[in-house]
Every structure is written in C-alpha cells, then in structure tokens.
Point group: D2
Chain length 163, copies 4
C-alpha cells in the first residue's frame, strides 16, 4: 500500500529543546521513525512541508497543503496537523479536493512524551485507509476515524469528541 | 462505536515478573489501560478469556474464542492473540463465523517493552473497523489490515509480511 | 537512612499540560513516585515547598528553602531545584548553613520526558549521601557530585561541566 | 573522575529478542548508552567481560572479574552483575582485593523495561564513588550503597533489604 504523509508539524511532532527549556516543533519527521521501523509493509512517501503549531496555520498554509496533496501520485493521504485548527483545515480541504482519501490526524500530547496517544491516532488513520472507503476528508483521533464534520475538539477537557 | 475485545494473551500482554525473572502473560488486560485512557469515544467490551502464549493454543481454545464471539451482541470484534498461531486461528474462525467483522491482532514485542509496535497494531485494527467493511476475518499487523490469508509471519526475521 | 527532600520545582518536575499545550511545574512530587517505588530502604521526608522555574527564584525563596532545611531533624538533605540558578542558591545556602549535608540536584530535561537524566542526577545525590562526607553544599549533575563551586552550567550547550 | 565498569551481564542488560520470544543478556553494554549520553564529566572505561545470568556465575568467572579489576589502572570500579549471586561474588572479591573502591550493582528489572530502577542503582554507585570512601566492596541497590555484607536479596519479594 502507498500512503503519502503530509507533515505540517503540530503537537504530534514536538520535542523538548533543552537549550530553550521548552518544547518546539521539529521540522523533520523524527517522531515517525519509530513507527516506520514497524511499517515495513507500507510504502510511505513523507513530505515535511510545515513545522507549525496549528494556531499559526492560515489559508496560505492550507493552500500549500493542498498543492502537495494534488502533486502526489498517491490516492491515500495522511495529514499530520495540530489539533486546534484541524477541523478548519479539514473543511478547507473538503471544499477543494474531491478525489483523494485524506485522513487528518495529530495528538494532544507530543509523541516524545506520550507514545500511546500519538501512535494510536496515526495507526488508526492507516488502518482506516486499508479499507475500501469513499473519497473524502476524515479525522482520526481518540479511538475514532470519521468524516471531519462528525468530530470536534473540546478545548476545556482536551479531548476530541464525536458529535 | 461498540467493539468487543477478545483477549487471549500472547506477547502483546506479557509483562516482566521480577520474582520469576522472566516475562509472563498477564491474565488481565492491563496493557490495554493506557490505550483505553485515550479511546473515550469507543464503547469497548473486554473479555479476558485466555492468557496463553499462542504456541499453546489448540482447537479447544479456538472453540472458546468462537463461543465468546458468538455470545457477544457486538458485530465488531478485535481478537488479541499471540503471533505464532495467529493465522491458524484465523483460518479456524473463518470456517465457522460468517456474520462478524473480526480483526485479529497482537505484537512481536510486549507492549510493556515496546509501546509503539503493540499500540500501532491494536489501533490499526479499530481504525479499520471504523470503515464500512465486509464481514470476515482480518489480521492487523505491521502497517497492514487485510484478509487473514494475505499475510503471514516470517519467523526467521520476526516480521509479518504481505504475500 | 533518613533524607529530607526539599522540592522547589524546576525542570525536573515539569509535566505536559494538555489544556495549556505546554509544560508546567507540578506542585506535587509526582515525578518522584517512580523513584520511591524502588527506594524502600530509605526513609524520605518530602517537603514540596515551591513549584518554580529556577529563573523565578529569588532570595526570599532561598530563605524559605533555608528555613525548611533548618526545621528538619534530618542531617541529609536533597534539594530539587531548577538548573539556571542552582549555583546561586548553592552559594546563598553555603553562607548560611554549616551543619548539614546538602546535595542540590535537578535536570535539564523533565523526568516525564527523559527518565534517564533526572533519575541519574537524583540517585547520584543519595548515593553520595551514603558515604561519610563533610558537611557542606554539593551539586549532583551529569555524572558528578562535588562541591557546588566546582561545577557550573554551560547554557550554550545545555550541560553541567566540572571546572 | 575515572571509573572502570566491569560488565558481567545480569538482568540489568537483558533485552527482548523477538526471534526467540524471550529476554536474553546482551554481550554489549548498550543499556549503558543512554546513561553515558549524560555522564560527559566521567571518564568511563567499559569492560564487557561476561554476558551471564548470575545463577550461571561460578568462581572461574569470579576469577576473571578479579583479573580485570586488577588489570585496570583505575581505583574506582563499578561491577554490573546479576542479583541472585551478587552477594557471593562480593564476598569472593572481598577476600581477594583490598586496594580498590568497588561498587557492585545490577537490577531486578531490565533497564530496557524499567528505566528507573536500573538507572537509580547505577547512578547511586557512581554518586557514592564521588565521596572519599574507604577501600572495600560495596553494593548499590534500592536506595542504598553500603558494605556488601549489610544488604541481601529477599527472593520472595524481589527486593534488596538492608539488614
């Protein structure tokens, strides 16, 4: 199976920077390396296009995401994205891309701090792509993979909830 | 979404026993607790029916697995099973159950030692169940969720490979 | 052996707060719980007196640290403290306390992110206190336990170095 | 500071072997690599002389340990050793080596499974060596560094206890 990963940064990719004494978004996909060591049956294409907290993502960035998705030969796409504006990006993509299977995922806690949540979200995304699904924009978070408009982030409790 | 987990043990659930100085299969599903803390959108029913290394699993055990699957009201089933005889169990189930969506998964390394692999395999299973799939017996391992007869364990290199 | 732990916060105790999307200093000593589960031979008294980044620590805070050390019946003291002003606090204590064995320690990376560094620094502190040492103020960091004026933090590379 | 590490194997060094489906003692000191990445102030000499479960260690092996200690130019020695016969080895060494500072340590749970316990024991050993201590044979385990005849392993509960 071929999957293109569009990596835009977000909490998923944050790592501790001991010089700054804070977490920052890494520009590489080093958080994915442990996952890739176990996905030898998948042909991943990785595009590290942005390294942003999702609060910084605007429509110019979303156009870059779209261009990279359209430029890819692969039908199956996983977008790694910060959680705060994940739904906005999903809606923006939904209005502009009709012929791809796109699952957007991310994490509430950096994979470098909580392996379980980040890996769960990412792996549920590719598990879903293994089925025969309709083209569209999906979100994979907290146990669910569903159409992007069926799930939202409850910022008070820090969880994604199905509507 | 409702999913029944049939837990038969296997490497997935092994934990270090410091009195014995060796790994043993825990009879509970404690390895799943970290996963459950992030799957608040899923209604899991957990049946810890066996705590066996899969080399010990015979057809009597498989009949117990089948009875528990048939007794469940849920259509979606995840079976956690040791890797060595996972394919034999899948074939046995395939001949006897026709009306359920069953994904068998497990791990090459205990979740207590390598969080990434075990969580990946489990989460890809429920990600797959989120799609509209045909009834059948599937295996979720190493990046893939597919019909059980399309994947096998290469015991020399310790990896599941797609045929 | 009896040891009083004076916990002032610092990076050692930082944990990820998923609502804020950032690390914060926990007011409890929850980072020490994993250590305590293995130190059943030590009678630890824990005083969580501050929960500060060490850049915020001033002489008023240092006077609180001193009061708590002097109020303790124990001779052996471990102070957990942020790394940026650890040496200033050590000098301040050295001028005011003469009759205790005090080891100051901390971490460059939160224990919740890198177990190895934080545990190393803390355990080297109590290992040192197991020897017959002269009263004084010591720092335990990055492989060394020595008089506080023999070691400093190189902020450019994020390491403590022996002079 | 210069410290020679005599690595004889033991649980400390065990890692999961996914082909065998069991833990084995690695012949290298790879478990120490994470520790070494934070001990840049220490000049460690590492001798990987044995890779044995301590139940297999006999006096021939102990003579090899002694020869390696005597051949080292360093006064400060850490011996990594399985816990079951740690006290026997300590007694054997005590009768034959009088001019070195030797701390024997190990772990009840492999460092690859529980980072905290193994790192604690090892770091308390070098913390102790940073003090001016009398020559002798010490054991560093579970919060304590003391003369080897003051501590023993309670095999029923899996803990080292001070007498």
């Amino acid at each position: 199976m071929k999957i293109t990963i569009i990596n835009t940064g977000g909490t998923f990719n944050k790592k501790y920077n001991l010089i700054k004494g804070a977490l920052d978004v890494r520009e590489d996909a080093s958080s994915l390396e442990k996952i890739f060591s176990w996905t030898h049956n998948v042909d991943f294409e990785v595009k590290n296009i942005l390294a942003l907290d999702s609060l910084e993502i605007n429509n110019k960035h979303r156009d870059i995401i779209i261009k990279n998705i359209q430029d890819s030969n692969n039908k199956n796409i996983i977008v790694i994205h910060g959680t705060d504006t994940m739904n906005e990006t999903a809606t923006y993509l939904d209005e502009r891309i009709k012929d791809k299977n796109i699952v957007i995922t991310g994490a509430m806690i950096p994979m470098s701090i909580d392996t379980t949540e980040a890996v769960m979200n990412f792996a549920s995304a590719y598990g879903f792509l293994n089925a025969k699904i309709d083209e569209g924009i999906y979100i994979a978070l907290h146990g669910v993979v569903c159409s992007h408009d069926k799930i939202y982030k409850d910022k008070k409790i820090g969880k994604f909830l199905v509507k």
